[in-house]
Symmetry: C3
Subunit: 330 residues, 3 copies
């Protein structure tokens, strides 16, 4: 691929020669035939050692003498890397896929071996379903969605268009609902709700979204969920949120739009989180959170307050320990 | 379904007319043909706006003018929602299920496509096994148990009656046992124990229960395990416990009966936890816990002590920060 | 198996008679026909009650009057338990396995039912792949490796020799890479890297190792990963590390050799962790860590500092609370 072709897609100005590149690799793993990219001045030193023949960069003070100058290399990443993507062009429905006669199948599908699709389910156009995935009854899978291997989608789940569901994810398993009886035993509360996933949602490997009890669990358009995330029953999650790995929402949490959840961050149940909220990694949210808050800690609070309080406590503790050490020495 | 039929099952007294309802939905998602339920006076305002035609409630001060008056609506949930449950009546054994000739099959089974069952395994009556589940050799699956898609059950595992194992769960993978040799490398300790699951146990999606090293990992009757939970090797877990999502037991933990584990709560290995213990969310247990304790924090301790200590520390820190701010201003 | 045969394998000196044992079981679960093992003097009392007919022990002050005396019983565990291991001797390729014609198959393979292997993949000698596993295109699986049921291996992944990949694990799913556009929506950054796993690596049930963005995610030789662990994209993990259950590495973390991660321990992204580092359970690592450090807490620091600081703070808080209580009483 020529730099001029790439520049046409990502914007920016070519410097050096309009050479051909084979792959795109990171600064230190790139070989002579590769393009690389400088994302941050932190890596400027590395960029002065790169073996790449060309670079996407915000400065020409780098070793590769050919490349594309852009204002913010990070911003062009989606378009740039897509140029080098492997596209799976397989089409057709495997003879070993087991699809109930009542299933409605769209056009241009790829359904791989050992896929199971049950009664009354609708698979819209251009969907890809990989081997071992199981799709329950009465499910809708929107156009252009990709279901990776060994995914399980329980009955009645609705998935929007252009979603990506990674391997091992489970959508629509029973919410965790039990009531204790007079013998202190837990009686199951049948979970009658379903899971509704919007458009352009990505769900990571082995993540779980549980079905609701008497309402649906909802994930809004454009929300991206990493691996091993838990979304409990009855949660209503808005649009364009990000859930990092191992984040968890207990049941009946309502989340607005444009929120960011750090790794292992979790909320107690029945809370409301506003729009544009950032919950930093490992935080434990125990109360409702207003719009635009950035919170941390457990119980989570404004991150600056949290940091300052932690700092003042630790400072005191260290001074105290220093005093005790001195007393010991005397 | 008529209200009178429902009242017969759940108890309580009908008010308004004995009308027909179609589904049960939450207060705000119910439509004109639906029954709803008021679980808590927190939702009383919502219940005065509900479109439902009927309500299960503890007070008649609600908008739906027909319904069933019960003392504690939460307590009737198991019976009430079960009335509306979809029951999968499929029976029979798929031609594409691969079942070894030595497997003992009970009556009234449903075994779906691409299920694999290996040598000498026993499948008791009324078991349902969904597609993609793999059952190892010498396994016992008790009567009435449901195994959802893509579950993996390793060799020798024993599962009791009326259990529910959700999609992607893994029972009987090797416990995490290694010894370091003189080259600082980790040598595998073969895990010879098995997993033994009691009756009426529910195990959530993508949860893991590891096999023991030289004894069995045991989960007692009636214990309910949410999604993405880890139970390490050699653990002996008693009856009627609840493990919320992302909880974890390191190896060789002994847990009594009627305990509750909050989300992301975890224990170090080789500990003993008594009966009726509550371990609040995100707690890290580092020592043995006596009966009836309610604990929190890391290291976890009595939750009141934990809360008071945290409060007194934070109060001091805030006062300190206020002082510093004032000094800055002066 | 005779004690003399066992002693030949594990070393040590026989005492009592050279009797035959049937199984090896833990001290309290062993029956009259079993061998047991005393791992620690903590269990000495139990060992004086064991029903086992023989014992591997460091002292003869135990009830079983026959056995093998060794210096450190824990060190012989790998060899000892391997003697009693069940070995799956199945060979051959199931007719229901779906293997592309371009796949290169080694010798002495076991490939079970409903395994899917795609184009150009290489399966070396003595590999076992259990039912429901899906292997993408252009993958390499090294000699002697075992892939348990329902594992998903994405395109281009490379796995070394003698690895064990437990059920439900996912290798090579897309790293979690998105850029926010001017509409505050998240645009996917195609993940072009692959996953490269060394030799003798074990990966636990339902764990995830993501593919890199423009470089590979690498797990070094001999590293052992427990269940439900997350390794983010671009991570480079060295040799002979141990990751306990629910540990997580955010993206682009570099880890040396011989490190130990406790349960639920996690790192922020773009960090470097040295060699021989121990990260205690539940720790949150927020900065680079030097060789030989033992760290704990969040933000994680030297574990002794962490413990002392926590202790001095708690001591102060308790004294304060005691004072307040006394004041209340007066």
């Amino acid at each position: 691929m020529k730099l001029s072709k790439i520049a046409k897609t990502i914007g920016g100005k070519i410097f050096g020669q309009d050479i051909e590149v084979k792959n795109i690799k990171s600064i230190l793993t790139a070989r002579a035939e590769d393009l690389t990219i400088l994302l941050d001045k932190l890596y400027l030193k590395d960029a002065q050692k790169s073996k790449a023949c060309a670079i996407v960069t915000f400065t020409t003070e780098v070793k590769p003498k050919n490349g594309i100058l852009v204002k913010n290399p990070r911003k062009v990443l989606p378009k740039l890397l897509k140029l080098f993507a492997y596209e799976d062009k397989q089409l057709g429905i495997s003879k070993t896929a087991s699809i109930d006669d009542s299933v409605k199948l769209g056009k241009a599908l790829f359904i791989d071996d050992y896929v199971r699709i049950k009664e009354k389910t609708v698979i819209q156009d251009n969907v890809k379903i990989y081997s071992g995935a199981t799709i329950g009854r009465n499910v809708v899978i929107g156009a252009g969605t990709i279901i990776y291997p060994n995914v399980t989608i329980y009955n009645n789940t609705q998935i929007g268009k252009n979603c990506i569901i990674h391997a091992g994810a489970v959508l629509g398993a029973d919410g965790f609902g039990f009531e204790r009886n007079e013998k202190k035993e837990w009686e199951k509360v049948t979970q009658l709700g379903k899971v509704v996933i919007g458009n352009d949602v990505e769900i990571g490997a082995n993540s779980c979204v549980d079905r609701g009890a008497i309402q649906d669990t909802v994930i809004g358009d454009g929300t991206k969920i990493d691996n091993l995330v838990q979304i409990g029953h009855n949660c209503i999650v808005g649009k364009h949120n990000v859930f990092s790995s191992m984040a968890g929402l207990a049941g009946s949490t309502i989340v607005g739009d444009y929120c960011i959840w750090g790794g292992q961050a979790a909320t107690a149940g029945h809370l409301t989180v506003g729009n544009d909220v950032t919950i930093m990694g490992r935080s434990g949210v125990t109360k409702n959170i207003k719009d635009n808050e950035v919170i941390q800690g457990f119980p989570a609070q404004n991150y600056k307050k949290e940091w300052k309080e932690q700092a003042v406590l630790r400072k005191w503790a260290r001074r105290q320990l220093n005093k005790e050490e001195k007393t010991d020495e005397e």
